[in-house]
């Protein structure tokens, strides 16, 4: 039994309307694949090269319309699914995660949580290298690093649109009555966009790194959201994607809060 066979079964039995998985793409890359007919399940691959977080598709109107779907899920995808459930964007009954080698069916939040307890989270070597480099810099150097990187941004929004947590149908960036953030991709427009996005992801980022992976000009933009997420973890002791019942750290009140001003 592998993911292909599992997918065939699920589609033939009518358990799901589609399987969102990966297939071989250009130059050996893996890309998302939507399999809606059992006979097309042969296209699926599920290996180490499959990096993208497919949970990003679960909140799209086109995909919602399909009905219950199965998703080939790497650990980051599972975290994203839990976070989407915590934010009431995905219902348990509408998604079946296929984890492990693609044959492990995780149909409930609880099953996903239990499975994730066995998966360690590790930062890719390249990210660690950049983070180490950044941590050795003083504030002015770090500022110069991000200015140089953000000057490359063309505001194509590949980062936002790839992010499973950027599901807003009408993003603040797209609001023009009033215009909160400049549309133009100049220094200020780029900086404000990425600052707003990093802040909006603080406490919600599952650290999959898809925003950075999506960036056509190679800005390691995921490191900004990682940083905010780590900060929330240090301050509030919780991580996005850990549970389907997570309260949003930045808007939750608890009587036993360590800060006195809130009482």
């Amino acid at each position: 039994m592998d993911l292909r066979e599992k997918s065939r079964q699920l589609l033939e039995n009518g358990d799901v309307k589609a399987v969102i998985g990966y297939e071989r793409g250009t130059m050996g890359a893996r890309r998302p694949a939507f399999i809606r007919k059992a006979e097309r399940a042969d296209r699926l691959v599920f290996d180490e090269a499959c990096a993208q977080n497919l949970a990003t598709y679960l909140t799209r109107p086109e995909v919602r319309k399909l009905g219950r779907v199965a998703v080939a899920a790497r650990p980051d995808t599972l975290r994203a699914i839990l976070q989407l459930m915590a934010e009431r964007q995905v219902k348990e009954e509408n998604v079946l995660a296929l984890a492990g080698d693609g044959t492990v069916e995780l149909g409930t939040a609880q099953a996903i949580e239990e499975h994730l307890a066995t998966c360690a989270k590790e930062l890719p070597a390249r990210d660690r290298e950049i983070l180490d480099r950044l941590s050795r810099m003083d504030r002015a150097q770090r500022w110069a690093f991000w200015q140089a990187e953000l000057s490359r941004c063309v505001k194509c929004y590949a980062c936002r649109n790839s992010c499973p947590m950027c599901y807003c149908g009408h993003c603040t960036m797209d609001c023009n009555r009033p215009q909160w953030v400049p549309v133009a991709s100049h220094a200020l427009g780029n900086l404000e966009y990425h600052m707003v996005r990093a802040m909006h992801l603080a406490g919600r980022c599952v650290e999959c790194g898809d925003c950075g992976r999506a960036c056509p000009v190679g800005i390691p933009i995921h490191l900004l959201t990682f940083n905010c997420e780590e900060s929330v973890h240090l301050q509030f002791g919780q991580r996005a994607g850990a549970s389907s019942k997570l309260d949003y750290a930045l808007s939750t009140f608890r009587p036993d809060d360590k800060e006195s001003f809130i009482r």
Binding site: G25, T26, M27, A29, R31, P32, A33, F34, Q52, T56, Y57, R60, P61, E62, V63, A148, R152, V154, K155, C156, Y157, A158, R160, N161, S162, D174, Q179, P182, V183, A184, S185, H186, G189, D210, R213, A214, P216, V217, G218
Partner: protein, 333 residues
């Protein structure tokens, strides 16, 4: 008919010095922080060594991602308008590929369609292109399927093709002659050099595709192809021929600016009307628009294609929306 010369590798220094000495900015592919990008350079040593293409296209030399069109200031009961002047620095685009060089004519078709756009035209007039033919390619390249080629001279003022010890230089236009005349000692007599470029196989029948699109508008193929599209603007923004723009204003109580910025038909708000109605509500409709604009509307309206087969969109796409593959599929019965 082009004038052919031999341009020795070592003579590039002379050429670059002559061009900068003439007050021209040279934009060329550079490798910085692991990325091939167009940047101002002053010597051939700054140019990337073994590059396929830059990530973004050369269009920004004539159509920048942000451009000020006018400014205004408001006083007591008055508004002052001030035209912006295009900053058209004399520029040489060095080392761009033939596909991109030929892309400017697709921009020109729109910017000079009815109103002549003085910003675009001022930059184009100040722009000269020294292209370099391709000795390698990748799986995203498909120039030969859209009427181009790895050695195509279209859009270049001088086309260089790598040969042993330097380049075969084809001086193609008046602008090209003017550049060559700045450094006559760099251009040696052509000893009968052979122009050898990489072979790019034809991937699909383009006239067949354009014809096929006429009755494929309502086809399910666009839904199927676009399910994985995330609706970002990466493809449009790296594209040398995507010309759509947005006009925005940035203003406060005292005044402001009107800006032109790149826009993308992949975005969900691109065709959103003020009424709330959106004629392209789904990603499938937006993806279809991208294909039709380039392969149906452009031929119909301007007698050319809106695609040069550079493959930048395919390389930039976060979900590998491989254009060549999708076009080949759409061209089939």
């Amino acid at each position: 008919m082009a004038d052919n010369f031999f341009l020795p590798q070592a003579s590039l220094d002379t050429l670059f010095a002559a061009l900068t000495g003439d007050g021209r900015r040279i934009l060329a592919p550079t490798d910085r922080d692991g990325r091939t990008e167009l940047n101002p350079v002053t010597s051939p040593g700054d140019v990337a060594k073994d590059y396929l293409q830059t990530i973004l296209s050369a269009k920004e030399a004539a159509f920048p991602k942000v451009e000020r069109l006018m400014s205004f200031s408001t006083g007591a009961g008055s508004v002052d308008l001030k035209d912006a002047e295009p900053s058209a620095v004399p520029t040489v685009l060095f080392g761009i590929r033939p596909c991109e060089a030929s892309g400017f004519k697709a921009l020109d078709a729109v910017f000079n369609w009815d109103t002549r756009d003085r910003f675009f035209n001022a930059r184009m007039e100040a722009l000269a292109v020294i292209g370099i033919g391709c000795t390698r390619k990748d799986d995203a390249c498909f120039c030969t399927s859209v009427g181009g080629g790895p050695g195509s001279t279209s859009g270049s003022d001088i086309l260089l093709t790598p040969v042993e010890g330097g380049f075969l230089a084809e001086v193609l236009t008046e602008k090209g002659k003017a550049m060559a005349a700045l450094a006559p000692e760099a251009f040696k007599a052509d000893p009968g050099l052979e122009k050898k470029v990489v072979e790019v196989p034809v991937a699909f029948d383009q006239p067949g595709l354009t014809k096929r699109l006429k009755d494929r508008f309502e086809d399910g193929i666009w839904v199927e192809q676009s399910l994985r599209c995330v609706g970002c603007g990466a493809c449009a923004f790296v594209c040398p021929t995507c010309v759509c723009f947005d006009i925005v204003e940035e203003a406060d109580a005292k005044g402001g600016h009107r800006l032109r910025t790149w826009d993308s038909c992949g975005g969900h708000m691109f065709t959103l009307h003020a009424s709330g109605h959106n004629p392209r509500e789904t990603q499938a409709q937006r993806w279809r628009q991208r294909v039709y604009h380039k392969f149906s509307y452009y031929p119909e309206r301007y007698d050319m294609l809106g695609c040069v087969g550079c493959g930048k969109c395919t390389r930039a796409c976060p979900v590998d929306m491989n254009l060549q593959e999708h076009l080949a599929e759409a061209a089939q019965a």
